[in-house]
Symmetry: C2
Subunit: 209 residues, 2 copies
């Protein structure tokens, strides 16, 4: 299988890279600069693809940030602290982000004649991110199968797994989590307080790291 | 109704602008530079929005061209001459173009709290462009309705009209077709031989221009 993988450089998509490579897929990683407040994740994505000797493209679509206002991940709004279930975390939603990134990945897949586009949506995201829910995944896949002359299949192998379960898979596959980046802030060290840091810490503990 | 309109600057989307304004909709036009071989259409889009005093954003996403290879509209492949039904016209298909542009328009609609995203797919496109077919429209709309906290409705009022029928509507609405641009080439004058020129000429004749 030839698969385009949306790689953010965080723990979930990095684990997915190792998972798909372990299955024997030929992987083409794709990362975007879409106006995130920092480039820590993209630096991690680069290190990981270099380490695993995987094809990797980083595309700068910062210009679209002019269209997508209102998210604390791409604007000067304060990053909220807490768990994903909390109402305040809604400010981290970037309007229509996954549809945009998947659409671009599908276009790339058509160009290079890949079978699949993979992304690392998981059960812990369902509460807060509408475009990580199973219904979004199903409907997005339906349109992807008919939008071009050749069908592209969207896959999300972690869709029903918790972050802890993903970390357990990653532990078996020896994913180098020390070089992934999860924190919403872009300081030298992870803040330890934002939703992403808290969820990561709990997942790591669950997996016995 | 508040509507984001994908405006290319060609005759179809320009007619759609006049059509929606005539219905009383509040329109936000959105155009993209995605690596087209020329910017004639975008110049037309600017003139039209200035003439009609309509909100207009042009976003440069040329960087994505690195992902979307194989189309004569964005690469150094020769533009084919003939009707849309001909096999050679397939080279004008840009991989996953409408899903990408609609995804961005939906993100913009969420940001500005618009109800709809409109695009000017029409019956003459169905043969050659998979992402102008009714089934694509239906499935894209289904995902658009659930991808964000607020549903965005995709509308394509010309989906079952021929280009001639669109021109007839435009004639009634006094659309200034002389400032629209359709030709796939970007020379001083339209080439008169490419698929887009031929379809336009026939539509204009049908409408009695």
């Amino acid at each position: 299988m030839k698969t385009v993988l949306l790689l953010s450089g965080g723990m979930d998509s990095t684990t997915l890279l190792y998972y798909l490579k372990n299955k024997g897929d030929e992987i083409y990683c794709l990362s975007f600069h879409y106006g995130q407040r920092h480039s820590k994740e993209l630096e991690s994505a680069t290190k990981i693809t270099e380490l695993t000797n995987t094809s990797h493209k980083i595309i700068d679509i910062t210009s679209i940030n002019e269209l997508l206002q209102g998210s604390s991940l791409t604007s000067e709004i304060d990053i909220p602290y807490g768990h994903y279930e909390e109402e305040s975390m809604k400010s981290t939603v970037v309007p229509n982000r996954n549809m945009i990134l998947l659409s671009l990945a599908i276009g790339y897949a058509v160009s290079i004649k890949a079978d699949n586009v993979a992304y690392a949506a998981h059960a812990g995201d369902h509460h807060i991110y509408p475009d990580c829910r199973p219904i979004f995944f199903d409907k997005m896949n339906e349109v992807s199968l008919i939008a071009n002359y050749e069908p592209v299949n969207i896959i999300a192998p972690f869709l029903f797994l918790t972050k802890g379960e993903i970390a357990k898979i990653g532990k078996k596959l020896k994913v180098p989590y020390d070089i992934t980046w999860t924190c919403y802030e872009g300081k030298d060290e992870p803040c330890g307080k934002c939703g992403a840091c808290i969820e990561r810490k709990e997942a790591m503990e669950e997996a016995g790291f």
